[in-house]
């Protein structure tokens, strides 16, 4: 490829059909309030970790639902589980459980257990 001096990029488009949505399904099943998120961003605004980084539970929420799991896997590590997000959520989403379940789901999917 070097001889051209440029490469073909993968593209940013989310390919919903072929993305892996098992992580989302796992969370939907165990924590139905995951569905209730309306992406208001209250959680991300109050987030202790979000103070320091681009960590956003809102974004994680949507990326999991779209099956864009790779970024989520990294982001999740930043959560401190402090629970402020749960308190501010206008829709009663059990946000902390979503983080815990997502981590668990990643573990399970790595073990091909989902």
């Amino acid at each position: 490829m070097d001889k051209f001096g440029f490469t073909i990029s993968k593209g940013r488009q989310i390919d919903y059909g072929s993305n892996d949505k098992r992580i989302a399904e796992y969370i939907f099943e165990k924590e139905p309030s995951f569905r209730l998120c309306i992406e208001c961003g209250g959680c991300a605004a109050t987030c202790t970790s979000g103070n320091f980084t681009g960590f956003s539970l809102r974004e994680i929420n949507i990326l999991i639902k779209r099956g864009e799991n790779d970024k989520v896997r990294q982001s999740l590590k930043k959560c401190m589980l402090c629970g402020k997000c749960t308190l501010v959520c206008p829709r009663g989403v059990n946000t902390r459980n979503i983080v815990v379940l997502a981590k668990k789901a990643f573990l399970k999917s790595d073990e091909y257990a989902i």
Binding site: M1, K3, F4, G5, F6, T7, I8, S9, G11
Partner: protein
């Protein structure tokens, strides 16, 4: 797919195309890379259809590539185009036939600008007069040369020697049509069939017996994108778009791509080579690449002209698989010979041959 729905849309977007007496303006890319196309257009119009097409030797580039690369300011390009109109006026023509989609887009854009901002028109008249002493009129009819072929597609069909049928299977050929973005996306009313479901090429394919392939990325840009290609650092972006488009059409196994835009023909043709070199991917059936033809070339094949006279050999992706399907006989020995039978150097790395 519901053809009735399409007809409904097409009927909303029928443009008026002049019948005769065209002032022909050439395309920079086409006359350099696919000279056979423009040559055949003139041949077809003058000799087969018996129309009057005039070329003025004083005609220049429209400077569109410079304009879209932020080099040529709009006042300049307006003046350049005004000069073309002046040449047309001087030659006594009122109908302009434009070979290039970039130019066509600019002509329509500028005419529309003048309509909404008459002071710009006045300024342009002034600039042109000051610079060249010429005066111009707004053309009565603006047509892209694909519009004109579209208009005469049924006449061509009547004279057809090769219909777009796969002679091996008896099925109609599966043809992807790709319309240059600047043809109708800016001004849907200026294109035959509008912007979403343009009819200009699909009309030809249907009239000549082929089947149009509608694939998800049909509306996607060919990847040229002017400065995306012209700046080397951006070329990855350009080729990525082409890759995306071809990946999307690949499952449909198209026999060829038909385009009406010089840039599209060039990039859909040459990027296939690049992608194949980079990643080893080809997009046609059985590991072949997909020939990309201009409408003149296709019209020529339909009318039974020698593919080498039409200039098919000057594409990166060679058309032999297509010619076989069409049952067109050709002699490989003649492929790279000059008009007087001298052997030219044979290009390396051609694909599909």
């Amino acid at each position: 797919m519901n053809i009735e729905g399409k007809r409904h849309i097409w009927s909303d977007y029928q443009k008026e195309i002049a019948d005769d007496h065209f002032f022909y303006v050439r395309s920079c890319i086409r006359q350099s890379f696919f000279p056979g196309s423009e040559q055949f257009f003139l041949n077809l119009m003058r000799n087969i259809l018996g129309k009057d097409v005039y070329e003025n030797p004083g005609h220049t580039t429209c400077t569109g590539i410079g304009y879209h690369s932020d080099i040529v300011p709009s006042a300049t390009i307006m003046t350049v185009i005004a000069r073309h109109f002046a040449l047309m006026k001087e030659s006594g023509y009122k109908n302009i036939a434009i070979s290039c989609v970039t130019s066509f887009g600019l002509y329509t854009e500028i005419l529309d600008t003048w309509k909404h901002f008459p002071e710009q028109l006045e300024k342009t008249r002034e600039y042109l007069f000051k610079a060249t002493g010429r005066e111009f009129d707004i053309p009565e009819n603006v047509a892209h040369s694909s519009d004109i072929i579209y208009k005469f597609k049924d006449l061509i069909a009547q004279k057809a020697k090769n219909l777009l049928i796969n002679k091996i299977t008896g099925e109609p050929l599966k043809i992807v049509e790709h319309i240059g973005c600047h043809y109708a996306k800016m001004f849907p009313k200026s294109g035959v069939g509008g912007a979403e479901f343009p009819h200009v090429l699909s009309g030809m394919i249907e009239a000549w017996g082929g089947n149009v392939v509608d694939y998800p990325e049909r509306r996607h840009c060919c990847g040229f994108g002017f400065r995306q290609y012209l700046v080397q650092a951006n070329r990855g972006y350009s080729v990525s778009n082409t890759a995306k488009k071809f990946s999307s059409m690949k499952p449909f196994k198209p026999d060829m791509v038909l385009t009406n835009c010089p840039g599209c023909t060039m990039f859909m043709d040459k990027w296939q080579y690049t992608i194949k070199e980079m990643e080893g991917t080809s997009f046609g059936d059985k590991g072949e690449s997909i020939p990309v033809l201009t409408y003149e070339e296709l019209a020529g094949l339909v009318l039974g002209y020698n593919p080498w006279d039409l200039g098919l050999q000057y594409h990166m992706v060679q058309s032999e698989p297509l010619l076989k399907k069409l049952g067109i006989e050709y002699d490989n020995a003649d492929k790279f010979k000059t008009k007087d039978g001298k052997q030219m150097p044979i290009p390396q790395n051609l694909i599909n041959s």
